[in-house]
């Protein structure tokens, strides 16, 4: 195959792969969220639809598809139909520049583990999240409903207010890494294949970006309308906020957009501050055995609990899960997977840790009142982000 058609074929395969994995992750992220929040509240969560509720997302999708898809007669039809479309497409578009791993060799063709590497990747993600505000604002306006309009105005005012500390928190590691491309960001944090990186190379540590990381996470909570900043869509405050008049698949579209935004900001936090796919210590010194140990331990624990006589309901499901985990652990030991599976594992582990923090905060904190929320952004978060940027700039100018 000549290089140009190879490029198109590989790109098409990558797009299909990322799309499939992303859709499955969105569905199961909701399952993880429900289970984690349930365990925080000392109850089992979804348990009966399939083993441990694993088919619950499938049941939810079937319910949403077969629900009546209303088109109320009093809405502004073009905007009403366009709003969830804009929300979902912008949320999915920002995944296209996230790098999952280093350059790999597929049957002789060199390709990045990323859909496309823009040299203004960070600005692209910011631009796409700015346009994502329109999905919310137009949904509220077109619904011809005062609760929806109020919720939409509050939510979009919140999103554009928190874009400022978000951008300033992003600017500080850019000063350290000196590039806007997401792939080169990770390469300056130790992802360069020439010399393997360590924990110290991450921007959080050698760049002293603790304040920036925390500002970024708080602004990310507000950008994605998650607790403690989700007043605009709180059920007990504003009926259902901006998606009051939406049902069935359009409602599902807004939820997909919210989870996809969560994944995007977690991935951005990992790329900017936590070193992307760089392992805490290089693979030569044994960090390749960490995923093996983790999965093997999980598999053994699952098999032990499955064979325990006290758990009668999980006689078959837990040992099967345990065997699957042991097979994944064995996959990490195979030599031909070391180059791409290990970086992917570290990237997913770090992103998963931040997503767990999102879910953990949701189960723990109460929500802010709207004026507290906006005051916090402008009076506390924005000055802290500016000071962080100034200090980072000063240190880079003096040291670099």
């Amino acid at each position: 195959m000549d290089p140009s058609t190879a490029f198109y074929v590989i790109s098409l395969i990558k797009i299909l792969l990322v799309f499939a994995v992303l859709m499955t992750t969105l569905a199961y992220l909701q399952w993880v969220e429900r289970k984690v929040i349930a365990h925080i509240q000392v109850r089992p969560g979804p348990y009966f639809v399939g083993p441990h509720g694993l088919l619950q997302p499938l049941a939810d999708v079937i319910k949403l598809i077969t629900k009546e898809d209303l088109l109320p007669p009093y809405v502004n039809k073009p905007l009403y139909l366009a709003a969830p479309f804009i929300a979902v497409s912008m949320a999915l578009l920002s995944i296209s520049v996230i790098p999952f791993g280093p350059e790999i060799d597929v049957f002789g063709y060199h390709t990045y583990m990323q859909l496309t590497d823009l040299n203004i990747g960070v600005l692209f993600v910011l631009a796409v999240s700015s346009v994502g505000v329109y999905g919310v604002a137009l949904a509220g306006w077109s619904s011809n409903n005062k609760y929806a309009l109020l919720g939409a105005l509050r939510s979009s005012a919140q999103m554009i207010s928190y874009e400022l500390p978000l951008s300033l928190a992003i600017a500080a590691p850019l000063l350290i890494s000196n590039t806007l491309s997401l792939r080169k960001l990770v390469e300056t944090q130790g992802g360069n294949p020439a010399h393997a990186g360590t924990l110290w190379d991450w921007n959080l540590f050698h760049g002293w970006q603790w304040i920036g990381f925390i500002v970024f996470l708080i602004a990310a909570f507000a950008e994605t309308n998650r607790i403690p900043f989700d007043l605009a869509e709180a059920e007990n405050e504003l009926v259902a906020g901006f998606h009051t008049e939406y049902s069935s698949m359009k409602f599902a579209a807004f939820f997909m957009a919210e989870y996809a935004n969560m994944i995007t900001v977690s991935a951005m936090a990992v790329l900017l501050f936590l070193g992307g796919w760089v392992a805490p210590w290089p693979a030569e010194y044994g960090s390749g055995l960490v995923p093996v140990a983790v999965f093997a331990l999980a598999g053994l624990v699952a098999i032990y609990h499955g064979l325990h006589p006290a758990r009668r309901m999980d006689r078959f499901s837990l040992p099967v899960v345990g065997v699957i985990f042991l097979m994944i652990a064995a996959a990490f030991l195979a030599p031909f997977t070391q180059s791409w599976l290990l970086p992917l594992f570290w990237f997913c582990a770090k992103t998963g840790a931040i997503l767990f923090a999102f879910i953990w905060v949701r189960g723990t904190l109460p929500r802010f009142r709207y004026d507290q929320l906006m005051g916090f952004a402008w009076k506390y978060l924005f000055p802290v982000a500016v000071v962080n940027l100034l200090l980072t700039g000063l240190v880079v100018a003096l040291v670099g």
């Binding site: 905007l79 040299n119 203004i120 600005l123 692209f124 910011l126 631009a127 700015s130 346009v131 505000v133 329109y134 604002a137 137009l138 306006w141 309009l149 105005l153 979009s156 005012a157 554009i160 874009e163 806007l180």
Partner: protein, 163 residues
Amino acid sequence: MDVILFLIFAAIALVAAVNVVVQSHPISSAISLIGVMGSLAVLYLLLGAEFIAAAQVIVYAGAVMVLFLFVIMLLNAGTEARQSKSETAHLLGVPALVVFALLLVYFIHQQPESGVHFGGFTGGSAQAVGRALFTTYLLPFEVTSVLILIAIIGAIVLARKEI
């Protein structure tokens, strides 16, 4: 390929601009203006201005137009009443406009041509813009920061509730 891209997005920009002027409800005009800005961002990419294209989407389409949308939604501006137009203006005006546009196109084509293609100008990166901004144009940059401060104070003073 570049010609096709230019034609598509220039057509979108023109149709959306006509929509801005012609639509009776301000919300439709605002959304058409967002369409104009988006297609102009793509044309900036064709001209090698990658930083300006991103800034156009982030600042113009993502913040300024959201502000417009807020004000339209808050004021609940309804549709404009149709004005009584004089027929003479229509009969004379539209052909005059077309003739003027053709004259403009003719005179612009007298300029020496250079072709625009992707990669024709590589000096539009963030590094180049940043270097010029902080060396040659440092004074205007600092003045614009004062301008933004004035605008913030002015907007807050004008729009607050008098208690």
